[in-house]
């Protein structure tokens, strides 16, 4: 069994009354000592996955097992213990406590775990030396550069020696010189006894990662002739949250475009009739479908690639229809 196993992980949110599903049946595995890079654009579920791994969010369905423990099933004190002992988190915005010095910020996880002040201080000094900040022990966050703050955040994530370190866009607010230092540090941290999971949209990390997880697979851009599709009344063409690379033109019949509400009900957005098209926004912008499509009656459609669609309808893009 792998040290980290994610099986069919699905996470749903209520967004303004509609269901958003940033993670949909995700499965992955990773081993101890690995540096795992989660790649993908904003909104693809990287941070959601990290939050689930940290025990900050409970998945809608699926399991996350780390060192044999199902993280999603933890509750109450067990979750707090998981956060205190198993996980170290490096946040995108550093999230250092503004009122505490670098040293005290690093001591916080140990203080939360009830470790004595002297021992916590000794450990913080050790970690800050490791990230080359021995000279900045008593500086407040505002007195440190972005790169220095991120290194303090990394020291804080490591101070209790967790076997799982999660880093959310750790290079997002840094210049290229600082990025290099942080990436090398991430690589160095992933050794026996510690797994490091880094979410990023910066693909430079792929060269040093042991495993790369692309949360949004690139849509196929292969060109082909329009394909004819026939649907029976009530048959679903695609569902909200699906990814797709085809735009549909109705030759005969009609299609209902509807959204799944958070209360599990449906909201009919529009009914598209013969001669009209729908589903163009998702493929053009590489986003998941924002609504579902279902035949209102026996319907015949043409499924077009984006390039063919734009040739046939040069005045696109008009209004979003179940993108």
């Amino acid at each position: 069994m792998a040290q980290l196993e994610v099986r069919d992980l699905t996470m749903e949110f209520d967004s303004g009354g509609y269901i958003v599903r940033p993670l949909d049946k995700l499965t992955l595995e990773a081993e101890d000592g690995e540096l795992i890079a989660l790649l993908g654009p904003s909104g693809c579920g990287k941070t959601t996955l990290l939050s689930c791994l940290a025990g900050l969010l409970t998945p809608t369905s699926g399991t996350i097992t780390f060192q044999g423990t199902d993280i999603g099933s933890l509750t109450g004190a067990a979750v707090a213990e998981h956060r205190q002992n198993t996980v170290g988190v490096v946040f995108q915005a550093f999230n250092l406590l503004a009122s505490l010095s670098a040293r005290k910020n690093v001591m916080v996880p140990l203080a939360l775990a009830g470790v004595g002040r002297r021992e916590a201080g000794r450990r913080a000094d050790e970690l800050l030396e490791r990230v080359a900040l021995s000279e900045r022990l008593h500086h407040l966050p505002r007195q440190l550069s972005g790169g220095q703050q991120q290194r303090v955040a990394i020291a804080r994530a490591l101070v209790h020696d967790p076997p799982l370190v999660l880093a959310d866009e750790p290079t997002a607010h840094l210049d290229h010189i600082q990025v290099e230092g942080i990436l090398l540090l991430m690589r160095e941290l992933a050794t026996a006894g510690r797994m490091v999971v880094v979410s990023t949209h910066d693909d430079r990390i792929t060269h040093i990662a042991d495993r790369v997880v692309e949360l949004v697979p690139n849509a196929s851009t292969a060109e082909h002739e329009p394909v004819e599709i026939c649907l029976a009344a009530g048959e679903i063409l695609f569902e909200q949250g699906d990814r797709g690379n085809l735009v549909y033109v109705i030759e005969e019949g009609s299609v209902e475009i509807f959204r799944e509400r958070a209360d599990r009900g449906e909201e009919l957005l529009t009914v598209v009739g013969a001669g009209n098209y729908f589903g163009e926004i998702g493929p053009i912008l590489n986003l998941p479908r924002s609504a579902s499509a279902r035949a209102a009656e026996p319907t015949r459609l043409s499924a077009l690639t984006v390039r063919t669609f734009r040739k046939r309808f040069p005045s696109t893009v008009r209004e979003a229809r179940a993108g």
Partner: protein, 354 residues
């Protein structure tokens, strides 16, 4: 979380936001000081009555049966009653007294309300002066220092003009109204137009039988009855103390709430690092209690400089100094409850927001 951890983060945050905390401490301290002064005012009524009543050196008072026993509004009795009381069994010494609130006129200043107290020369309670001499004859007066008249100064009450021969202190009634000690005859002239009336007979020893129409009241009964006369005022002052405590709570709560709003991200981060809602609430409660306690300590100092604001006697009881820190902690805890929702509702996943 270890207590040291909560304490350390709390103290660091206090120091980090010291300017806004100091403003709140200053505001709350002023309100707490007012609370102490109000407690002093309420206690002052009792203290002044006690000082005046005890200064006569009597064991008991013989008053008219129908009298209210309020020291400044006793029902007059005939002057000859003093002789008959003196002859009553159990009485070692009897001395008549007249106590009547009146208006004194001093040249160049508005009329002043005073309590004219007439005593026979050499009788009980005549030894009042702390400066100058006691009253030795008609036309002389010993006045309380709050009247603002030095020795040799003149004032008049009704048709009589008096010269100050002695000054006393802490001798007031009815909320800081100065006592004026004169001879029994002068008091009779100003209060009763010369009629042979007195307010009461002061006695040493306790009479076991009295002439008809008279009754004996202990010093304590006189004090309690007199204090009852001020009950409406005391009640208002005590209600004001509650308002003051509420204002202090609002000041501290506002500060703690605003701080909690500013620290929403900190709370999310601390939760993400393993802190519980109870731990965060503990930090808030500690923070607001420290603010309220420091304000209470500052208030005890401020109150000493603010007593002069009031005309009335202010006698802050030591119990008020002991209770104030407890009230402050209570207010601190109450204030932190206002911010509790911020701590409890902090979503640790928000720490990931960029």
């Amino acid at each position: 979380m270890g207590d040291a951890g909560v304490f350390g983060i709390t103290v660091s945050d206090l120091l980090f936001r010291k300017r806004q905390f100091l403003i709140a401490i200053g505001g709350a301290a002023l309100v707490f000081a007012m609370t102490l002064l109000l407690a002093g005012l309420a206690a002052g009524f009792s203290v002044e009555i006690n000082a005046t009543v005890q200064s006569f050196g009597a064991d008991a008072w013989v008053v008219a049966n129908a009298s209210s026993a309020r020291v400044a509004s006793l029902t007059p009795i005939v002057g000859s009653a003093a002789g008959r009381v003196a002859a009553s069994p159990g009485v070692r010494h009897a001395s008549p007294v007249i106590i009547v609130p009146q208006t004194a006129s001093v040249a160049g200043v508005p009329p002043v309300s005073v309590n004219v107290i007439g005593l026979p020369i050499g009788g009980l309670g005549t030894n009042q002066a702390t400066q100058g001499t006691d009253v030795r004859g008609s036309g002389e007066a010993v006045v309380d220092a709050t009247m603002g008249l030095g020795i040799g100064k003149a004032f008049s009450v009704g048709p009589r003009t008096f010269t100050v021969v002695g000054v006393t202190s802490n001798r007031t009634l009815l909320g800081g109204q100065p006592n004026v000690y004169v001879t029994l005859g002068d008091a009779r002239t100003t209060a009763f137009r010369g009629a042979d009336l007195i307010s009461a007979v002061l006695v040493t020893g306790i009479p076991t039988a009295l002439p008809p129409g008279l009754t004996v009241r202990s010093n304590q009964a006189i004090e309690e009855s007199s204090l009852q006369q001020m009950s409406a005022g005391i009640s208002s002052i005590n209600n004001s103390k509650v308002f003051m405590a509420a204002i202090a709570a609002i000041i501290v709560a506002s500060l703690v709430y605003v701080t909690a709003l500013e620290r929403s991200r900190d709370f999310a981060v601390l939760k993400a690092l393993g802190a519980s809602s109870a731990t965060l609430f503990g930090g808030l409660a500690l923070q607001s209690s420290i603010v309220a306690l420091v304000a209470a300590l500052l208030a005890t100092v401020l109150a000493q400089f603010m007593t002069g604001v009031f005309q009335q006697p202010v006698s802050i009881p030591s119990s008020a100094y002991l209770i104030l820190p407890l009230v402050a902690i209570g207010i601190g805890l109450l204030a932190s409850l206002i911010a509790l929702r911020r701590a409890v509702s902090a979503d640790p996943a928000q720490a990931f927001a960029g």
